[in-house]
């Protein structure tokens, strides 16, 4: 199944990446090449096979419910594009 230009536009919107028509057309051909490669895997019979999400069969660790992080907002916000009064600034969302 091949992707369409509309698929590319829809996915670009979901991924929040601006894309113009020329770019969408160029990327469409490349994505279809990749999905042709991926199709080889889709034909495999995987009945009864458990999906493998982790390389080793280990479980997630639990830790005590205790505060371990210290306040480092000054360090972290020093690399932010726009900060005022310890707050990250973004374009106005609510009119």
């Amino acid at each position: 199944m091949a992707l369409t230009l509309d698929d590319v536009r829809r996915v670009a919107h979901l991924a929040r990446v601006a894309i113009d028509d020329a770019e969408a057309r160029a990327v469409l051909a490349q994505l279809n090449d990749v999905f042709r490669l991926v199709a080889e895997m889709q034909a495999v019979d995987t009945g009864g096979v458990e999906p493998m999400s982790h390389a080793l069969d280990v479980t997630q660790r639990l830790r005590a419910d205790a505060v371990t992080e210290t306040d480092q907002h000054a360090a972290f916000q020093s690399v932010a594009p726009h900060v005022e009064g310890d707050l990250y600034l973004v374009p106005k969302v609510i009119e």
Binding site: L3, D7, V8, V11, A12, H13, L14, A15, R16, V17, A18, I19, V27, Q30, L31, D33, V34, F35, R36, L37, V38, A39, E40, M41, Q42, V44, T46, V49, E50, P51, M52, S53, H54, A55, L56, V58, Q60, R61, R63, Q72, A75, F76, S78, V79, A80, P81, H82, Y88, V90, P91, K92, V93
Partner: protein, 486 residues
Amino acid sequence: MHNATIKSLAADLAARKFSSVELTRHFLSRIRVLNLKYNCFITVDDAASLKLAQAADDLRAAGRAGPLTGIPIAQKDIFCAKGWLTTCGSKMLSNFISPYDAHVVEQLNGAGAVNIGKTNMDEFAMGSSSETSYYGPVRNPWNADTVPGGSSGGSAAAVAARLAPGAIGTDTGGSIRQPAALSGVCGLKPTYGVVSRYGMIAFASSLDQGGPMARTAEDLALMMNVMAGFDARDSTSLERAREDYAREIGKAVKGLKIGLPKEFFAEGAEAGVSAAVEAAIAAYRKLGCETVEVSLPNMKLAVPVYYVLAPAEASSNLARYDGVRYGHRAPDHADLTDMYKRTRAQGFGQEVKRRILIGTYVLSHGYYDAYYIQAQKVRRLVARDFAEAFRRCDVIMGPTSPTTAFRLGEKIGDPVKMYLNDIYTIPANLAGLPGMSIPCGFDGKGLPVGLQIVGNTFAEAKMLGIAHQYQLATDWHLRIPPECEA
């Protein structure tokens, strides 16, 4: 000094033949000249490196030096290093001075290693040629018209060009082993979970693993002894007792069973690659090893599986680059959504955007089961093939890459062609197994060939010992790119 191994530099530092400050100055002066040609480094900070070198000399004076104290180590620009520009090869992070250290960087600093600079790489580690970097392509010291491999191409080329005796890299689908092969150096991707991913900028979290690159197996072991270890801040870091990765360095390989997967030796590799790899296996037979044919029947599915799983995980990981908390923000925008979209369109390069789109698509409503879940199931089939193979052998060997270094621009326009370059390396990532590449000869064009060794879970020390025995019997790892000798 620059042709010496980490082990011999450590001995000379211990014998006070020179100081770390002198050694660091030597490498910095080489970098100043040779980096213009090879573009291995994105950031070099003489003052910061020399400060670390002075601290290492002080540590030694205080009697607290270890094997890596005072040794210059190049760091792939994917590792966050406090106070250092950390770009991951992207415009998105072109202004990101890291406010913290990665666990691996903490470990190296703690051992007194000297960060000699941050190395160039494919953008967000997505590539096999180090050409997708926002900072321009890295060139291969063996032939500057060819690529060094990728994504850890800057680290591999830096070690090959004798700009650092060791470097750190990361490997998601072959990004340590393939550039090691194409640049004629050694590289190890440990078992998934052995090296902490904390502060290592995430690409595909279920596959990403950091590891060492150097010129000898013995040096890799010395680096692993510092880099490995449990870290609670990485949820997939493994709680294991510390081990000495150099403990099997002196061990003979007589009687070792080497598995040769027939799929690794079917058509596909260039003649020059096959010839060098077969000669290496003959050398192991001469050392008393036995060889046995094994099979990884699902290997051909590894690349298709990888190009579902890795982009899916990347699209999720890279959602964090929104122009709000760090990194690039588009200067002009209509509203918040427009700001996100323009920021990401401007900050990411073509290959990264392509993978984000693939990943978003395979995770989107209605496609998740057919792509992502199916890929996870086939991943298990690939892992089972290895488990089956390791019932019959101690390690697996084959080529690291089907080709030697290719020309700049040769594959960059055809993503699928580039992806297939990782056909021999991706399977170990999917199975979470340790894999390494060591130099094993040259092709007719004078370009290096890598021998891949894949071991069972936690077999790193054994693999390093096996590689060391080969390096005692051969001298491929000692060859120097002619233009980097002086």
